[in-house]
């Protein structure tokens, strides 16, 4: 039976060029579905992996209670100092707590393709411990800022997407000039930031405290110890979150929105593609009606005919799926874009077309191919031989 099926499939597939137009419809329809599905989700995956890469599991971010985001959080100087002295925080090489008080403010930069509307960029004032807490962050051009001077270092993502913060350029903030002296790269969401000395930032922005404290934990028991100590401290109302959890939490909204959009668009498109595939396969079967009837007349049974039509539909669908994934890969993989993150500032990230996404796209293509092929295959297998032979 399988030999029969393959024999008929062979004839069918070789005759595809004869009726290329309807076959092309299936291929293009599926390329559309899979391409769109892959591209949309590649965006979500890229955003997620950028934020997930940010943050260690053995460090915590401490913010004022109920703030949710760093932007909303603020401590005064005293609370900042109290927090840094709490037990559970690791000790740095210099014998001081390995913790960095950080202040987040926002500055506006123009996108590279814009001349008018500024986009919000995070400016992070940090203490020296910030670099020990983020060992993967490297200065890749120029030098680090000098504490006490109005100097900035710029994340490579900012440099890619926005203008006015190249090394050597001057950024105006609150009536003062800040020189960009270096570029850093961390491979995570800090690439979308400008960094400077927290004390200079405090004096410029008229603040005394900080937005958050980032601290390394002293060991597996560190988190519980720190949480207990902070809960027992009446001067503090703060939230303690693992740094990794904090950043993963920031992807939720974006992931849900893009996931929802991708789901909706894919379902609608897939339905459209199923109808188109059905149409094309019905046409293909009709065009080959006489040929199939002849095969049936000389002894081929119905099932191989059914299988062969299904195989043809599947192959066309798969070809479309591969084409779509390829287009998505060529156009979108590693495409650097930026959007507004939870902190109300720009997050620069790259699209990621992963093998898993492509595999999921191809599964969708196969499912559509199966649905689109089955009914026409059934019709072909069941068509009465005599009537089909008599058709002109």
């Amino acid at each position: 039976m399988f030999r029969q099926a393959f024999a008929i499939s062979g004839i069918g597939i070789r005759s595809i060029p004869e009726r290329w137009a309807p076959s092309l419809v299936i291929v293009i329809g599926l390329a559309g579905v899979v391409g769109v599905f892959t591209a949309l989700l590649a965006m979500a995956v890229g955003f997620e992996s950028t934020l997930k890469a940010t943050g260690r599991s053995d460090a915590v971010i401490i913010m004022r209670g109920g703030s949710d985001e760093e932007l909303n959080s603020a401590f005064d100087r005293d609370s900042t100092d109290v927090i840094k002295q709490e037990p559970g925080i690791a000790t740095g090489a210099d014998g001081k707590p390995l913790a960095s008080a950080e202040m987040m403010v926002i500055a506006e930069l123009l996108r590279r393709d814009d001349t008018k509307n500024g986009a919000n960029i995070t400016v992070r004032g940090v203490e020296p411990a910030a670099f020990a807490l983020r060992p993967h962050l490297k200065i890749i051009a120029g030098r680090n800022f000098t504490p006490g001077l109005r100097e900035l270092i710029v994340g490579s993502g900012v440099l890619r997407q926005f203008q006015g913060a190249d090394i050597g350029q001057v950024v105006r903030m609150r009536g003062s000039n800040w020189t960009v002296v270096g570029e850093f790269e961390s491979g995570d969401s800090h690439d979308s930031e400008l960094w400077t000395d927290i004390n200079v930032a405090r004096s410029t922005f008229g603040r005394t405290g900080s937005s958050s404290v980032l601290a390394a934990l002293e060991g597996p028991g560190g988190l519980a110890k720190l949480k207990a100590a902070i809960a027992a401290e009446p001067r503090l109302t703060v939230d303690v979150l693992r740094e990794q959890d904090y950043f993963s939490g920031q992807t939720k909204q974006f992931r849900e929105q893009i996931g929802f959009l991708a789901g909706l668009v894919t379902v609608i498109m897939a339905l459209g593609a199923v109808f188109a595939a059905l149409n094309s396969m019905y046409a293909a079967v009709a065009a080959r009606g006489k040929e199939i009837a002849t095969l049936r007349a000389i002894g081929f049974s119905g099932t191989p005919v059914l299988i062969s039509v299904m195989i043809e539909a599947l192959l066309l669908a798969l070809a479309g799926g591969v084409l779509g994934a390829l287009i998505a890969y060529v156009l979108f993989n590693n495409l650097s874009v930026s959007t507004l993150g939870q902190n109300f500032t720009q997050v620069v990230f790259n699209f990621k077309v992963t093998p898993q996404l492509v595999a999921r796209g191809l599964v969708i293509a196969i499912v559509i191919g199966m649905i689109g092929g089955f009914l026409p295959a059934l019709r072909a297998a069941r068509a009465p031989v005599t009537t089909s032979l008599r058709e002109q």
Partner: protein, 386 residues
């Protein structure tokens, strides 16, 4: 047999195909409708505002508040009629739903935004009740707020003096927009800046995120912006002044590339489906070549054969398109409800008219080539199967 019934009969000649094609068209237009309404969302937010208002913010970023002490200086600038200000409160409803709540000076705001309408006594109560709040109609309807209720709202930024971030305000008025565009802009609420200044524990007194300047004449917008920004240059409170329209556009632009990419992806989808339908149309004409020849033999002119094919394409697109747009409208409403208003996908009159234009264009795109082919047919060749 009339021409109309002939076209219909032809459409149902291959029922399966017609229905399948119709379904493809419907899907294309469901998507088109949704896309177009999302698209108009990104481009809108700007059209309804006149150019008579300017927004002044801190040059570094609007998240950096400016002192309200600047108001007299701003009002002294020639061309400026009235100045209002508003401060982002960081409002949160119940667990985690962000609300647009701003602290304002009520009567100044009322002067600068005559587009928001509310009975005078409600404005007066708002101005004279410290814990008062007014809400836009869209927002009040969404959460079922009634005038006279005490509305609990938290702030994710500002605690009260007692350290609690749970605030509560007396709803004293519900305002609406003066026209359709402004009615959509009523998903916001306002509280008194005077009360906010006193009650927040940050000692953040007399600070605000935005000044809104009402101009006597929109032609002065550029000159006034320049004067103001020059006035505060080199101070810690440097300003950036732009028209309200530019300000709104800038806000939407922050969403950035995503909007553009979604836009292009969805257009690709639409064109894919267009191709699919076009092919089916062409195929259907190809199969009927002998029939068309017979029609011509019977005396139908070239023109009327073209008409038949176009009419078929048009009725397919029109029926499928309208149905698709209706479905999209329903789906958009469902999305809006299902996401708690996070996605506002509304197919308004603008989207519908673009949709109808698309239907006409699509009919021509898919019908014209096969139609012209049918028109050109030479009877002898067609009947001979050449």
């Amino acid at each position: 047999m009339t021409k109309t019934s002939f076209v219909i009969a032809n459409l149902f000649r291959k029922r399966t195909r017609t229905i399948l094609t119709l379904l493809s068209v419907i899907m294309a237009f469901v998507l088109f409708g949704l896309l177009q309404s999302v698209n108009s969302l990104f481009n809108a937010g700007a059209d309804f505002v006149g150019a008579t208002r300017l927004m002044t913010q801190a040059r570094v970023s609007f998240t950096q508040p400016l002192p309200t002490g600047m108001v007299p200086k701003l009002e002294a600038v020639p061309g400026v009629e009235r100045v209002a200000y508003s401060m982002w409160f960081g409002g949160v409803w119940q667990e985690n739903t962000p609300l647009f709540v701003f602290a304002i000076d009520p009567l100044r705001y009322r002067d600068v935004y005559p587009e928001y309408v509310m009975p005078d006594e409600q404005w007066q109560t708002f101005a004279h009740t410290r814990t008062a709040m007014i809400a836009g109609k869209v927002l009040a309807d969404q959460y079922g707020w009634k005038v006279g209720q005490k509305i609990p709202i938290s702030s994710n930024i500002y605690p009260q003096k007692n350290g609690s971030k749970a605030w509560a305000f007396d709803l004293v008025g519900i305002f609406d927009g003066k026209d359709d565009a402004w009615r959509k802009q009523t998903n916001i609420a306002f509280i008194q800046s005077e009360y906010f200044d006193e009650a927040n524990s940050f000692n953040l007194k007399g600070r605000t995120n935005f000044f809104i300047l009402k101009l006597a004449d929109s032609k002065q917008a550029q000159a006034v912006s320049k004067t103001i920004d020059a006035m505060f240059e080199n101070s810690p409170d440097e300003t950036k002044t732009q028209t309200e329209k530019d300000f709104n556009l800038g806000f939407v632009k922050q969403i950035g590339d995503i909007a553009l990419i979604v836009h292009w992806i969805l257009f690709a989808v639409f064109f894919t489906l267009l191709l699919v339908v076009g092919n089916t149309m062409a195929q259907s004409v190809r199969e009927r070549v002998p029939e068309l020849a017979v029609l011509k033999t019977l005396g139908f002119t070239d023109g009327s054969v073209l008409f038949f094919v176009l009419a078929e394409a048009f009725s397919l697109c029109l029926f499928g398109g309208l149905l698709g747009l209706v479905l999209a409208t329903a789906l958009g409403a469902m999305v809006e409800k299902g996401t708690g208003g996070q996605f506002v996908v509304r197919l308004d009159a603008g989207v519908w008219s673009i949709g109808i234009l698309a239907i006409v264009l699509m009919s021509l795109a898919v019908g014209l080539l096969p139609g012209l082919r049918a028109r050109r047919l030479r009877i002898v060749d067609a009947l001979a199967g050449r």
